[in-house]
């Protein structure tokens, strides 16, 4: 289980990073998802561009009602409270249940999102917030709504020449209610169904159902789910046509329990 040979580069600035990508290098942040794939030779890039040391890649800032989380911010930093306020408390709870602490110490929110494993926690949770991914490419920055960022199994809205810079999420009032439920047989196992529900006073509640081997399913107005969790969860999952009856059952449970927790 040793990787195929690859070259490694550590760009000093963003333009160097983009140049490496333009030349075909594969970006890597914490390497906690890519690392196993390299060791298993499932991924065989010729060159890696290590983004970890780029200026401003990690870190959290707030401007007005928007919280910007640098893509290179580790799960552990978020677990330990790097994100302020109610949003930070919610994200800390999610982060704590990602893989294991030694993995969280290296793995990053941006790396996880850009890797786009449908079972990954940030892939499942972030679309629940009305936020955006900040993307840097040869033509400069652009923004992608988080619910449109992951497009399929290991597929995103990023082109091969683009990088994920940050995610920007709205700060949440203390009264925001949150429900998050995922099914793992043991901590660190890939989720077999994840659901989350966010209810911000004055806004329509939102819900996401994810980890079903498909891009996350976003319910932009989850009012019905919050009003009648059991019936609506059953209706939503039935519409998704999940082949495996057990996965369908835990998906229903996930949605219902997340909705109940948020109400």
């Amino acid at each position: 289980m040793k990787p195929a040979p690859f070259d490694y580069a550590r760009p000093a600035d963003w333009s160097a990073a983009l140049a490496l990508l333009a030349a075909g290098a594969r970006p890597v942040a914490g390497g906690q998802s890519l690392g196993p794939m390299l060791n298993l030779r499932v991924a065989t890039p010729e060159k890696l561009a290590d983004l970890r040391h780029l200026p401003g890649y990690a870190g959290v800032t707030q401007q007005g009602g928007t919280i910007r989380i640098g893509a290179g911010t580790t799960h552990a930093a978020i677990e330990d409270g790097a994100v302020p306020g109610r949003l930070g408390a919610i994200l800390a709870g999610v982060a704590r249940r990602i893989a294991y602490r030694p993995v969280r110490n290296r793995g990053t929110i941006g790396g996880s999102l850009a890797h786009a494993d449908p079972a990954a926690d940030w892939v499942a949770v972030l679309p629940c917030f009305r936020g955006e991914a900040v993307v840097l490419g040869p033509a400069g920055e652009r923004r992608v709504k988080l619910e449109r960022f992951v497009t399929g199994m290991l597929a995103t809205a990023l082109s091969p020449e683009e990088l994920l810079l940050a995610v920007e999420l709205p700060a949440l009032p203390e009264a925001a209610r949150w429900g998050h439920w995922k099914f793992c047989r043991k901590p660190g196992e890939f989720s077999k169904a994840t659901a989350c529900v966010l209810a911000v006073p004055g806004e329509a509640p939102r819900a996401v159902l994810a980890a079903l081997d498909a891009p996350p399913f976003v319910v932009a107005d989850a009012s019905a789910l919050c009003a009648a969790p059991e019936a609506e969860a059953a209706r939503l999952v039935a519409a998704l046509d999940v082949a495996d009856p057990w996965r369908a059952a835990i998906a229903r449970t996930a949605l219902r329990r997340a909705a109940e927790a948020a109400s």
Binding site: M1, K2, A4, P5, R185, P245, W246
Partner: protein
């Protein structure tokens, strides 16, 4: 909250018996801390992978990506002709033939590298050498094998279906062995108050020691000797196997098992990879090393525990068993492994199925099916976890039909202590024990009324029991009938004083977690009074130790413990003779006490001084001294050697989430009797560790295969091993019924913990599901299986 300080430490179980607590706190019965801990806690253990020698080449194997195919050829990477070796390049390696003398056994020939055909995914085809493992893997990736793919036998139940391809083409059918015991049970329907039939299945598992296998082979040109450092539980057996396969004298092979990172049966095998490394080291005159990685371990070597049972059982109104009819199939994989053979599991099922119960009538048929999967190896408990699961779930099904409690049906069937020693209808000879008392205590320790009250409120919670016994340390009289490549005989130990008075013990088996460096020192202390700190254990090196079949079958403490005791006793006799002379006393006036030879009630002379006299001041030795000196090799075998029977009752409280099928173990109790415990702390560790593995069998571990014979769990993210959150804080209670047949009354107990969990946990789940009319039959009881059972009951 309970804090660490007010909890019992590992050495204080509930209700610990102390009948053999050592007087000095260091001998038999003492929870002495382990001598081996310090090196492991500082990262100073030395495992195969830690050893690197100059000029060493690393091997990566090209392994078969298909389960069953004709191997038409392999194109070696350009320029690497001399670094890639196929079977045809290594004709000096004879095929592995692990025979059994049982009638009808079909012998497979396993070449170290595939020849003509591949028979399971992961079978080694070519050895690729480079100066690093990564480069060797590059070579393996660049090889181009050509296959004519054949249909695969991926399900043991189809092994003898009409028209299936033959895995070994000269065989009549895909079967290693069938065994049967005939008895007409047709009258039982008329007389029984209850009859149940269950079809049960257990999954293929990977033993998954955290350290994989590994081997480093070197040719010593001075000694003209192959030196093989390998992660083995049985270095002497490996030596014999290597010598036979390579046509060497046994003296030309030295096998060293250094620190080994977990065995569990996974490392009780002569490996094809060992033979390849040995042949290459001889051919190339360079050290050659192969270290198994996790991908190889999971995909090429998931090799145990896959059983299928059809059990019918009859009972009278009180639940007394009237008879059992068992049809068992074991997936034995593609080849017969050396030394335990392909039939060790299936052929034992008949003799161990009655378990700790009185079974008056019994018919069985067992089949060792040959399939396109890795060859079966005996994993901790061997066939017992599956058998116990089958018997215990069947008993509960009977109890439910009769309206009896799980405790009641066991109580009427367990062999009573008054009947000990007891010989059952298939000839198992139980040495001692009070099986019913273990049951009673286990039931008392879990709060059954509370579970019943919660059930009455509609909670999906249940309690489950499993009673079983474990034959351990069985010897010649049992194994000679198998006719395998290996039959254990007298276990030998060497005890000697070095000139400074340090006691050196040499044993041919191996300690890889069992703490023998400590426990055998405790045994020596018990006999000679030498401080365990002044005892060194040499083990795992065939050049330095007496022959042994190794560490397996819960035998080390009974066999090596007995041998060390006997060697120390004889060594003590010799020391007494010298000591008496130095004290100018009669031989009959002196005794061994506290590490000295002393006149009874009088002055003593230290064993160090006696050692110094023998080695360095021989002028002071008496005329009648034993010229063998302070160096004794003694052999030991219990009498009878049919095996000790430790036994236990596991009791479990489990909660089921009826929406997801998830199972939570709320309480886990083990009442265990291992006879006299040489080191209770270490025995606790063995029981706890085995139980954790059994929890894996019950709930988590499964290597699924698709119809083409492809293993589907290639990483530990797919093949789930129990972690600290999956194993509850298991509560242990000990009983102590000495075995009348062993040196200190100790019983083999190393495998015991792994036997009970599947039965106890599934019984708890099924107890929880009973109000829903649902029952789970297959292991592991994954959430999907549990939910499917609930859904099936709803329909």
């Amino acid at each position: 909250m309970t804090t660490a300080s007010d909890r019992p430490s590992a050495s204080e179980g509930v209700n610990r018996p102390h009948s053999h607590a050592s007087k000095t706190g260091k001998g038999v019965g003492a929870s002495l801390r382990r001598k081996e801990d310090a090196r492991f806690l500082h990262g100073r253990g030395r495992y195969v992978g830690d050893i690197a020698v100059p000029g060493m080449l690393e091997v990566a194997f090209l392994r078969s990506p298909v389960a069953h195919a004709r191997l038409l050829g392999v194109t070696k990477p350009a320029g690497a002709q001399d670094r890639v070796f196929l079977a045809a390049d290594l004709p000096e390696i004879a095929p592995i033939r692990a025979v059994s003398a049982l009638p009808g056994f079909r012998v497979s020939e396993q070449t170290a590298l595939a020849t003509g055909k591949v028979r399971h995914v992961g079978e080694a085809i070519a050895a690729c050498l480079a100066s690093s493992r990564a480069e060797a893997e590059d070579l393996a990736a660049a090889c181009e094998p050509e296959f004519e793919v054949l249909p695969a036998i991926s399900d043991m139940l189809t092994a003898r279906a009409p028209g299936v391809p033959l895995i070994h083409e000269h065989w009549a059918e895909n079967v290693f062995l069938e065994t049967r015991r005939e008895e007409d049970l047709s009258d039982l329907d008329a007389v029984a108050a209850a009859k149940v039939t269950r079809v049960l299945r257990t999954s293929r598992q990977s033993m998954a020691p955290i350290e994989g296998r590994g081997v480093l082979a070197e040719w010593d040109t001075r000694l003209e000797q192959l030196v093989v450092t390998t992660a083995s539980q049985q270095p002497h057996v490996s030596k014999t196997g290597i010598a036979e396969a390579l046509g060497l004298d046994e003296g030309q092979v030295r096998v060293i098992a250094p620190d080994v990172g977990g065995g569990f049966g996974y490392k009780a095998i002569l490996l094809p990879e060992e033979l390849v490394c040995c042949a290459l080291a001889m051919r190339l005159q360079r050290p050659v090393r192969w270290l198994e990685d996790r991908l190889e371990q999971l995909t090429a070597n998931a090799n145990c525990r896959e059983h299928h049972y059809i059990v019918t059982a009859w009972a009278d109104r009180e639940g007394r068993l009237l008879g059992c009819d068992v049809d068992a199939t074991v997936d034995s994989g593609a080849y017969s492994s050396y030394p335990f053979s392909a039939c060790l599991e299936a052929a034992q099922i008949g003799s161990i199925f009655p378990g700790p119960y009185i079974l008056p009538r019994f018919r069985y048929h067992t089949l060792s099916a040959c399939t396109n999967k890795p060859p079966i190896l005996p994993y901790r408990g061997v066939a017992r976890p599956g058998v116990c699961y089958a018997m215990e779930t069947t008993l509960d099904a009977l109890a439910r039909q009769l309206g009896l409690s799980a405790e009641a049906i066991r109580a009427v069937n367990l062999v009573p202590k008054e009947a000990m020693p007891y010989r059952n209808l298939v000839g198992k000879h139980f040495d001692s024990g009070d099986y019913k008392e273990a049951l009673r205590r286990a039931v008392a320790l879990v709060d059954v009324p509370k579970v019943r009250a919660r059930q009455a409120k509609g909670e999906c919670v249940g309690v489950g029991l499993a009673s079983f016994c474990e034959q351990g340390a069985h010897g010649t009289s049992v194994y000679h009938g198998w006719g395998m490549p290996m039959v254990p005989g007298f276990e030998q130990a060497q005890a000697r004083f070095t000139p400074d008075g340090v006691l050196e013990l040499r044993v041919g088996l191996h300690s890889h977690g069992q703490g023998l460096e400590t426990t055998l020192a405790q045994v020596a202390h018990e006999i000679l009074g030498v401080d365990p700190a002044r005892v060194r254990l040499v083990h795992g090196d065939t050049a330095l130790t007496p022959y042994s079949t190794g560490t397996w079958g819960s035998r080390a403490m009974v066999m090596a413990g007995g041998a060390v005791a006997e060697a120390c006793r004889q060594l003590g006799e010799r020391a007494l003779t010298i000591g008496a002379a130095l004290l100018q006393a009669e031989r009959g006036e002196v005794e061994l006490a506290g590490g000295t030879v002393r006149r009874r009630g009088g002055a003593g002379i230290a064993l160090e001084e006696i050692a110094r006299t023998w080695y360095r001041r021989p002028q002071n030795l008496p005329a009648d001294v034993d010229r063998g000196g302070l160096d004794v090799t003694a052999g030991y075998r219990p009498d009878p050697d049919t095996g000790t029977h430790s036994y236990a009752c596991h009791a479990v409280v489990a909660r089921v989430d009826v929406e997801t099928g998830a199972v939570t173990l709320e309480d886990y109790v083990v009442v265990e009797d291992g006879g006299v415990l040489v080191n209770p702390m270490i025995v606790d560790g063995q029981v706890l560790g085995g139980t954790a593995q059994g929890i894996g069998t019950a709930l988590y571990e499964e290597m699924p295969y698709d119809a083409q014979g492809q293993p589907l769990a290639g990483t530990l993210a797919d093949y789930l091993l129990p972690g600290a959150t999956e194993v509850p804080d298991i509560r242990l209670d000990h009983m102590e019924t000495p075995s009348p047949w062993t040196r200190f009354g100790q019983k083999g107990i190393g495998e015991s913990g792994a036997i009970g969990p599947a039965g106890a946990i599934l019984n708890a789940i099924n107890d929880a599901l009973a109000p829903l009319g649902a029952e789970v039959f297959d292991l592991p009881a994954t959430p999907a299986r549990v939910l499917a059972a609930i859904e099936a009951a709803r329909r």
